[in-house]
Symmetry: C2
Subunit: 294 residues, 2 copies
């Protein structure tokens, strides 16, 4: 399959859903809705929603449901980016090649826009049309735990912040990867599966796929932070090393990191061997994640 | 009934539930859990959870369910206080007589602790034991809209921020009250009713009660900001006037504000006339809210 075409078309379709699901710019009070939309439409690749869709479709899930679900997940992902970029946290002026939310709207509005995107995510999840109440609740649990403090996104962010400038400890690095980005990426795949009424074996395989792809994605991101230019990256390159962030290449070197990402990619594809042809997009995404380092 | 005894005993029971429902301090990573607990246990009156309980019990709801529900709501309320107090927003050093979260833990941890309390609220709501899936979802919808940007808490906070230092416009003041504090207070009462399987008439009466009590509560708070000392208030008194906040007494004067609060209190008690003796605590709470101004 033509993975670039698939990614591009799917991204466009998610952008259409996000536009429908976010309050319009002229809805009162307009400033907050402008700030929410600014960050959501500032050029994201929609990796998380695309993973949700591909996982759900690999076992026959309905596209309409999966587009709602993935859009809600992209909102919660965007909230985390807006808050991470704040001066009190990572203090980033640039994200995806554009000024960050607080640079455009001020710190107060950026804090509230992040809060608002998380809130909107739960509104949408509670109302996904065509899904049973119990599936919607299972998905809300999945997302809320993946973004929480215990083995979730916030926990990972806390440990990441507290590790800056300290010697890197392998188990701590593993915790950061698993929690800060891995948990939500795995949840994307699992939510797609839950929305498609996966059986236990399918859910298990897809969870394992999600775990490996999540870690591979993070390693590749860290490698690119070193090897790519700011222009290609759309954000300040080399920033991790400058603030002595705990990263895979910092600990094991670039070459070993590439090897590790490749192993994870191959393992992830093996994990979904039982899924057959409908998992084609998932396999292509796995390869694509790795190919970014090459 | 002895309202002070009722409020005090109920508060203690909520504190016990909150202690059970928040991650322990030594759970990894400890800093964030300490920050979450610090703000939750920094002396709140538990007005919102007590309203949830009293509303649910007025129509025969189960206490165990209502204590879970009210505790989750107190978490989302505490998130909003932590974020409102940040230097980028209201820049408050003192809350309930104690240093605010960012004064104790720094801005980054306070932002994340707020995020984490909102997230934990949805985890708890998705898992309230003894409630049907559809009731849990209805409650998640209720809370997420009451705290959202459109006629909800974040919307009210945005307009409040944008109105500072400007001449006060009555419809804008009404929007701020209705959205910033009114929506969540009404939602507390409605969620108690939903958890107790209220019929349409009961839900209607309790919603109207909640709306009036919510507004009365805000007016009383604004009056106290002027008439009480910082010591009695547990926060910086006179702050609203200093930053030219849009408040009821600033627009209509203290005496007219007291009259308005009294009308709302009387009206609220009339609204729940159909509920009989089991609504005793709700009526006492309504009177108590007003009596604070006397």
């Amino acid at each position: 399959m033509d993975i670039l075409k698939y990614l591009n078309e799917t991204k466009q379709e998610f952008d259409r859903f996000l536009d429908l699901l976010l309050p319009p710019e002229n809805e009162q009070p307009p400033t907050i809705h402008r700030a929410m939309r600014y960050s959501v439409f500032a050029g994201g690749k929609r990796v998380r929603p695309i993973l949700t869709l591909a996982a759900g479709e690999s076992i026959g899930g309905a596209r309409e449901i999966l587009f709602h679900l993935g859009s809600a997940i992209e909102m919660i992902h965007t909230y985390s980016l807006i808050h991470d970029d704040l001066p009190a946290l990572d203090n980033d002026d640039l994200r995806r090649g554009l000024p960050t939310c607080h640079k455009m709207f001020g710190d107060a509005m950026a804090i509230l826009a992040g809060d608002a995107l998380m809130t909107r995510c739960y509104q949408v999840l509670a109302e996904v049309p065509g899904l049973s109440c119990s599936a919607r609740l299972a998905i809300i649990r999945e997302i809320s735990y993946a973004t929480g403090t215990v083995e979730g996104m916030i926990g990972g962010q806390v440990v990441d912040l507290e590790s800056e400038g300290k010697p890197i400890d392998p188990p701590v690095l593993e915790y950061i990867h698993r929690s800060k980005t891995g948990a939500l990426l795995t949840a994307c795949v699992r939510c797609g599966a839950l929305a498609a009424q996966a059986n236990e074996q399918q859910l298990q395989s897809l969870s394992e796929f999600g775990r490996k792809i999540g870690l591979a994605f993070q390693i590749v991101d860290d490698v690119l932070d070193i090897t790519a230019s700011s222009e290609n990256l759309g954000k300040t390159a080399g920033k991790d090393e400058k603030v002595k962030k705990a990263t895979y290449p910092a600990l094991y070197g670039i070459e070993a990191s590439r090897v590790k990402a490749r192993e994870l990619m191959t393992g992830a594809i093996e994990d979904i061997g039982i899924l057959g042809e409908s998992a084609g997009p998932l396999r292509s995404i796995a390869r694509f994640v790795y190919d970014r380092t090459a």
